[in-house]
């Protein structure tokens, strides 16, 4: 029993460590590629503030509560309006997963 509990704590710890790394990597990707348009007062934020006018939804991506992971991944690879899509040499699949993890879990 004790052994099992210890093992569980050990693996949960690993999981947290993994998540922390993922979260931090996601933030780094955001700071390198996204914040210049999606930061406070930046053009994409201004555009989204018109889209989300009269709603509870924040135009600032880092303040969003319910951002969907797959939506983030879709937009990065497909673009949206004047936002272009990003090549894998810029944001690879692992980094994209971390970015989506960061944005979808940050305010949960």
């Amino acid at each position: 029993m004790i052994k099992k509990t210890l093992l569980l704590i050990f693996f949960t710890g690993l999981l947290f460590a993994n998540d922390t790394n993922k979260f931090n990597e996601g933030k780094q990707v955001f700071d390198k590629w996204c914040i210049h348009c999606h930061g406070v007062g930046m053009p994409a934020t201004d555009a989204l503030s018109i889209v989300y006018k009269d709603t509870e939804i924040s135009p600032v991506l880092e303040e969003r509560k319910n951002l969907d992971k797959s939506f983030i991944e879709y937009v990065v690879r497909n673009g949206r309006f004047s936002m272009p899509f990003f090549r894998k040499i810029e944001i690879n699949n692992k980094q994209l997963e971390s970015l989506a993890f960061y944005l979808s879990t940050k305010n949960r």
Binding site: C37, A47, I50, R77, F81, S82, F85, F86, R87, K88
Partner: protein
């Protein structure tokens, strides 16, 4: 490669050869850095393509991403072996001018993004040497981390590459000699179409210590051949950098009348060409704020004279409402005393020449700037701080529909007030003849980054949803190229779809410039493998087929 999908092949290359070439590319750079799946290749499409999803849209067949110069040389040799057209990109952010897509469907993109070494930044002799994958953001971060007292002149979007931007004749925002990014480069390393490595100017002297300081070395100056063209793959470039000033001021000049532009430009040219001021940003406050609708009364005057603008009524509207007709932001660099003296001198010059001219200082800083000052700076690029704020241009406003991007039409016109007003008139007439709402008004301003000339740009909207919009836009663009050329104005830059049209009007003496370039092309790239059609230069094997 997805088996069920039809593979895009390089032009005139069979599938068997292409598959063999892919294997050879993989051997050179590693499998990881050869992108061949459709979902990966699609990311090299131009998000702002003027022919999105049409058969002629230039989608590559493959993308290969080398890390070292030697790998680029090997790639070029393989391309020669199979006669595969290859198209180099640096950071691939040339939005509005082609982005990361090649000139033709099926060309193999050579993505140099991984070649991102900052080889040297020297803040005593004020230069840097960079690989193509280095972005303005990267270089800025490096300079700031190392506390270097230099700044790089840059275009609006900071994610671009100094190498790529200068090779496409990009411009920036500081003193004129730095704003001309190709002009501010010094020294090049190029992989030639046969795979040989060449260094130009001082770089040709083994062990030279002034690669990025003397542009010429000895002998012919050949660097120009590698810009807006297809004579080689540039793998290193030197650039001259500007020392950070001790003091920075932003003054704002306003004048009340449309015709004030004529003496204004003359004085501004004097101040610019004497290095008294940096980049003057011309605007008209008659244009509504970002995303807002134009005042309906003013808007009505744009078509109230037989469908064309009533200039007297517009002028009267501006005077009645005390809206200055023109407004110019003027950055001044130096030390505190010299900047103050220059501001006073500028005030005198304009107030003597133009009734009602007013100058106000709106920013006045000692450097280094604090974090807050940097953040609030009106024109970050004038102090070499990279950003992406320019994208306000294409994001959604309150009163215009979202659009997917833009395509720039960018003719060079004289730096002369009268000529600008004439240019407005010609464009307005052209839109009128085309039966479209004019994108140009009698208060449309010139773009002034092009040192010693104006650029009078139009950003045409494109769509990823509606092919008709794109087709119409391409027609208008091509008409505009011809109309501009008739008046002595030619584009400085264009996306792949328009490069034949744009280069086609530079046709003095039976297009001798083009014929000269083609002769060179056939000599140094006999297999025609590097970027066929780039800059309107086609290799012999494709000439006549894609070129008129």
């Amino acid at each position: 490669m997805s088996e069920n999908k039809k593979m895009i092949l390089p032009h005139k290359v069979n599938e068997k050869d292409f598959l063999n070439a892919i294997k050879e590319f993989e051997k050179v750079v590693g499998k990881e850095w050869v992108y061949k799946e459709e979902e990966d290749i699609n990311l090299y499409r131009d998000a702002y393509s003027p022919c999105w999803d049409e058969p002629q849209e230039p989608i590559p067949s493959l993308a290969v991403a080398p890390k070292e110069v030697e790998e680029v040389q090997e790639i070029v040799k393989i391309a020669n072996k199979y006669k595969i057209a290859i198209f180099p990109i640096s950071t691939g952010k040339n939005l509005g001018y082609g982005s990361s897509a090649p000139n033709n469907r099926g060309d193999v993109v050579i993505d140099l993004k991984r070649m991102n070494k900052i080889i040297e930044v020297n803040d005593k002799r004020n230069f840097c040497i960079l690989e193509p994958g280095v972005s303005y953001f990267d270089l800025y971060e490096y300079c700031e981390k190392n506390n270097l007292n230099v700044m790089m002149d840059m275009p609006d979007p900071g994610w671009g590459s100094p190498v790529g931007n200068s090779l496409d004749h990009g411009w920036g925002y500081m003193y004129g000699q730095y704003r001309d990014h190709f002009g501010a480069h010094c020294g090049m390393e190029v992989v030639l179409p046969n795979g040989e490595l060449m260094r130009t100017a001082m770089g040709a002297l083994p062990g030279s210590k002034t690669f990025a300081e003397n542009k010429y070395g000895y002998g012919p100056y050949v660097d120009g051949l590698f810009s807006q063209s297809n004579f080689g793959i540039v793998t290193k470039m030197g650039f001259w950098m500007m020392p950070k000033p001790e003091h920075y001021t932003l003054a704002v000049l306003t004048v009340p009348k449309r015709d004030d532009l004529i003496p204004l430009v003359e004085i501004m040219n004097y101040l610019e060409d004497s290095s008294i001021i940096g980049w003057p940003l011309y605007r008209s406050p008659l244009n509504p704020e970002y995303g807002k609708a134009m005042n309906p009364e003013l808007k009505s005057y744009l078509t109230s004279k037989n469908g064309k603008p009533d200039i007297d009524k517009i002028q009267d509207y501006a005077l009645r409402n005390k809206i200055p007709y023109w407004k110019i932001d003027i950055p001044i660099y130096g030390n505190k005393d010299s900047v103050e003296a220059n501001v006073n001198y500028i005030k005198q010059r304009f107030s003597k020449a133009i009734d009602g001219a007013e100058i106000e200082v709106i920013e006045d800083y000692d450097l280094p700037l604090t974090k807050e000052q940097k953040k609030s700076l009106k024109h970050k690029v004038t102090l070499g701080i990279p950003n992406l704020e320019i994208f306000w241009l294409s994001t959604r406003g309150e009163n215009f529909a979202p659009k997917d991007g833009h395509v720039w039409f960018s003719p060079i016109i004289p730096r002369d007030g009268k000529e600008l007003l004439k240019c407005q008139e010609i464009y307005i007439d052209t839109f009128h003849e085309l039966g479209m709402e004019s994108m140009i008004t009698p208060f449309s301003h010139p773009r002034t980054w092009m040192y010693r000339a104006f650029c009078f740009m139009i950003g045409f909207a494109n769509s990823r949803e509606d092919k008709e919009i794109n087709e119409k836009m391409r027609n208008v663009y091509n008409t505009m190229v011809k109309v501009a050329a008739k008046h002595g104005w030619g584009d400085y830059r264009a996306g792949p779809v328009f490069q034949d049209a744009v280069s086609g009007v530079y046709n003095f003496n039976d297009s001798i410039l083009k014929r000269f370039a083609e002769q060179l092309k056939d000599t140094i790239d006999p297999n025609g493998i590097i970027a066929p059609g780039r800059g309107g230069i086609w290799p012999k094997r494709l000439r006549g087929e894609k070129n008129d």
